[in-house]
């Protein structure tokens, strides 16, 4: 009996550890030193949808839970990435062009950042990185892409193309 318990505990520990580790996502960066702008991915998550529960006290004192949800188009998932975008070459006049920052899947398809991802802050992805043109300095925060669910488990790469060079960051799951 005691041995069974120990086995069970060991299994549970192993299982929990596996779950925890499988939830951690890392990334592989291919820095290109010639780029004016360097991008670093500090985290990323793939979400079928976003949800948040807000506890709201009613006029009579009772509380209700108000659910907020945000879903991508059917067949898609959200790819939410936390980045640091830093201007390496302070002598350069190049600004950061968001149109050149795309996510590529293994089949060669490219995806642009959502035109409106201000909802991220409602789901605690704070701060969200601005979508305005960047001119200098270090800029960091979350941004959101929408990609087909079918490519979400395959190879995904964040690519920034500028000044005839490219920076690729493999988003490793």
């Amino acid at each position: 009996m005691r041995k069974t318990n120990l086995t069970l505990v060991a299994f549970l520990l192993f299982f929990c550890l596996t779950v925890i580790l499988s939830g951690c996502q890392t990334h592989k960066t291919t820095p290109t030193p010639t780029l004016v702008w360097q991008i670093e991915v500090s985290k990323f998550e793939i979400m079928n949808n976003l949800s948040a529960i807000e506890s709201v006290t009613q006029y009579n004192g009772s509380k209700i839970d108000v659910a907020h949800t945000q879903s991508p188009d059917a067949g898609n998932v959200y790819l939410i990435i936390k980045v640091i975008i830093h201007k390496e070459d302070n002598q350069s006049t190049a600004s950061f062009d968001w149109q050149q920052l795309v996510v590529n899947d293994g089949s060669g398809n490219s995806y642009h950042r959502l035109a409106n991802d201000t909802f991220l802050e409602q789901y605690q992805y704070t701060p969200r990185i601005t979508g305005l043109e960047l001119r200098f300095g270090e800029n960091s925060g979350w941004m959101c892409y929408e990609i087909p669910v079918s490519v979400a488990t395959g190879k995904l790469t964040l690519v920034y193309t500028a000044e005839e060079s490219q920076q690729e960051i493999t988003l490793q799951k």
Partner: protein
């Protein structure tokens, strides 16, 4: 058997004794190397330094290139303050004057501005971009020989934030409206201050919600906007600082006001400010609040006069109202809630509005002698009968008293009678009675803008204009709001600022809304004197409980405040900084891990630690009894008291000048009260905040 018990009991006693000695030695609440290593450092931040450095960074980046009118340097949201603004920089070979035009949906929404003088270096401010679209900005370059060249630029902006209020325009007749934009001023730090054009489109907003709330923003004679800054003395709107700023978000001057400013501030003829304020020891060292009017010297920033309204009115008078949160044994009372100040420089007198007293009072600034009280005669008998001689006698038809009023202004004389003074105010109409028994239910109530003509010689008051009663309870605003008469058209801009609604039904519970438990919406109406509505917009919440509008102010989008050069001069700080010294308190020798903090602000500035946030006890918000922050390392411990607010909110500025240099872990200790009696049973907590601070 006894021996066996002895061998069991003695070790247990020894273990318990060791545990107790460890527990009560305080060693458990000492920061360890690991505590400090894992804690988040408190960053240094000073908006004046930050903005100056940002200007230098822009100039440095600009210096890398060669920019012309065809290919200018564009930086959007240059101060990270108004995302619908930009700066365009370039050089011209010959001196030229630049005119910028932001193309709008129609002529009333198109904004044009010309920079002063002819120069070769140009820094052109762009205001009034639309959100979430590509905006066309035309630059007209006029040279001294009369030659003119035009260039088009296109600026893509971001959509509005997810929690930006919904705006529903019911009426828009731009050709009949006062030119300019409506500055929609927020009341709480959960809403935005933004600008609307004549079509009701958003053309600018401040992304920083921590400043400028619940205080009139005024356009000064120098074209700058005067508003409260971002350092809170008492939640939710008593602010230590005032800013002179522009619509790009640049702060030119920060005034430090130990008394804190709330609700209203005006510029006097000589440039000084008059503000609704407090005794400087409020809130922890004084028993009332929001009952002092102060005068601020513009040059030094010092408070030069304090008019204590308790010397003018009896603070024991208690009309029925909905401002009072009903806290028993509260540390200070809000008997006046002064929300408007005006100065009659003709006879050197001050007019203030107390919505809680439903009274507007004029008194002499030198003698403090009351001139008159504009108020219903209800409640001025008995122990308050000494004030009856100041009450005005109503005359004329359709006269109605004001209740819970806001925004009192002196209008220019149109009667041609030196004995009369015309007073414009926003009559919220709260309760419309001194007593609860006779109070009007909100579903039958109304709010309105009203002009009273007061004959100071005859001691009479006449109602000569009103608008709003005809809107019924649909525009009833229990609290907030303002009205202004505009110069060019003579139209009135009216803000029905705090409309409490549940399922569309009007309510009166202000406190529930202020602590975020009740939705609040608003409505802004521009009306001609004859009663024709030329603009009507409803503001409702969107992913937030707040869509209040503290005040509306029509203003030019482009004022002289955008004419300056980046990095030209460092912004100034004036006045006297007030911050809390360390205090003493017997803290437990072990942690009681019950407290979670959500910081809205935590930073160091010029030897002070500034904090603002909310406090959860066991995951829930309560009325706060005491909030202490403890800075501790192995050698020293300093305890500071923050000012508690309703619903677990707190604010603080701690003086670190006497704190020994070193690294400190920051802990929080505090008690919450279950219920609404400040002296009720206190539940205490004490645990790390997860932050550390380096004191130099």
């Amino acid at each position: 058997m006894k021996q066996r018990i002895f061998y069991i009991i003695v070790p247990i006693i020894i273990i318990l004794a060791i545990a107790a000695s460890v527990l009560f030695s305080g060693v458990l609440v000492m920061p360890t190397k690991a505590t400090l290593a894992n804690a988040t450092p408190v960053e240094s931040y000073d908006i004046l330094e930050y903005q100056y450095q940002r200007e230098l960074n822009i100039l440095s980046d600009y210096a890398n290139g060669s920019y012309t009118p065809q290919n200018p340097y564009i930086i959007q949201d240059p101060y990270k303050a108004n995302p619908l603004s930009a700066l365009i920089l370039f050089e011209t070979a010959e001196p030229a004057q630049v005119t910028a035009t932001v193309i709008g949906k129609n002529q009333y929404a198109t904004f044009t501005y010309s920079m002063d003088g002819f120069t070769t270096h140009h820094e052109v401010a762009v205001l009034g971009l639309y959100p979430g679209q590509k905006n066309q900005v035309d630059l007209a370059i006029i040279y001294q020989n009369g030659q003119e060249k035009k260039y088009e630029q296109f600026l893509q902006t971001e959509p509005l934030p997810y929690d930006f209020p919904n705006l529903a325009v019911q009426v828009s007749k731009p050709e009949k409206m006062e030119p300019g934009v409506d500055l929609m001023i927020s009341c709480l730090d959960t809403n935005y201050t933004y600008m609307l054009d004549a079509n009701g489109d958003v053309r600018g907003y401040f992304s920083n919600k921590n400043f400028g709330h619940c205080t009139a923003m005024r356009v000064l004679k120098n074209g700058r906007l005067l508003t409260t800054g971002d350092v809170e003395k008492l939640m939710p709107y008593n602010m230590y600082t005032l800013w002179e700023m522009n619509l790009l978000g640049k702060v030119f001057v920060e005034y430090e006001i130990p008394n804190a400013v709330h609700h209203d501030i005006i510029e006097l003829d000589n440039g000084d400010f008059l503000a609704a304020s407090n005794n400087e020891n409020m809130p922890l060292g004084y028993d009332t609040r929001e009952d002092v009017v102060i005068r601020i010297d513009r040059q030094s920033g010092a408070v030069t006069q304090q008019y204590d309204l308790r010397q003018i009115l009896d603070d024991n008078r208690k009309p029925y109202n909905h401002y009072d949160p009903g806290v028993l044994n509260a540390p200070n009372r809000d008997w006046a809630h002064t929300n408007s100040v005006a100065m009659d420089e003709g006879d050197n007198s001050i007019i203030f509005s107390s919505p809680i007293q439903s009274a507007v009072v004029k008194f002499n600034a030198d003698t403090h002698e009351i001139d008159w009280i504009l108020s219903s005669p209800e409640g001025w008998d008995g122990e308050f009968s000494q004030y009856q001689k100041y009450l005005l006698t109503p005359i004329g038809e359709n006269f109605e008293w004001q209740w819970g009023q806001h925004s009192v202004k002196i209008l220019p004389d149109t009667a041609g009678d030196s004995n009369t003074i015309d007073i414009l105010l926003f009559d919220n109409g709260q309760a419309r009675s001194y007593t609860q028994a006779n109070s009007i239910n909100p579903v039958n109530n109304y709010s309105r803008a009203v002009i009273y003509r007061i004959n100071e010689l005859n001691r009479t008051v006449e109602q000569i204009w009103q608008f709003g009663k005809e809107l019924g309870s649909g525009a009833y605003a229990t609290f907030l709001g303002n009205v202004e008469k505009m110069q060019l058209t003579g139209n009135f801009n009216i803000d029905f600022g705090g409309m409490l609604r549940q399922d569309g039904v009007p309510l009166d519970d202000i406190v529930q809304s202020v602590i975020g438990r009740q939705q609040v919406q608003s409505r802004v109406v521009e009306v001609q004197q004859k009663g024709e509505v030329v603009f009507d917009v409803s503001v409702t919440p969107n992913n937030s409980s707040d869509a209040e509008t503290y005040q509306v102010r029509k203003m030019d989008l482009y004022t002289a405040a955008i004419q300056y050069l980046l990095g030209d001069s460092k912004c100034q700080r004036k006045g006297d900084v007030q911050s809390s010294e360390p205090t003493s308190y017997n803290l437990p020798n072990f942690f009681i891990p019950r407290i979670t903090l959500n910081f809205k602000q935590i930073y160091q500035q010029n030897g002070n630690l500034i904090l603002q946030g909310s406090f959860l006890y066991n995951g829930k918000s309560y009325m706060l009894g005491k909030v202490l922050f403890v800075l501790k390392n192995k050698d020293y411990q300093y305890i500071f008291a923050a000012t508690p607010g309703l619903n677990g909110n707190f604010a603080a500025r701690f003086d670190l000048n006497d704190v020994q240099p070193g690294e400190y872990a920051i802990y929080v200790a505090g008690g919450v009260v279950n219920g609404m009696d400040a002296l009720g049973k206190v539940n205490f907590g004490y645990n790390p905040t997860g932050y550390k601070i380096q004191v130099k």
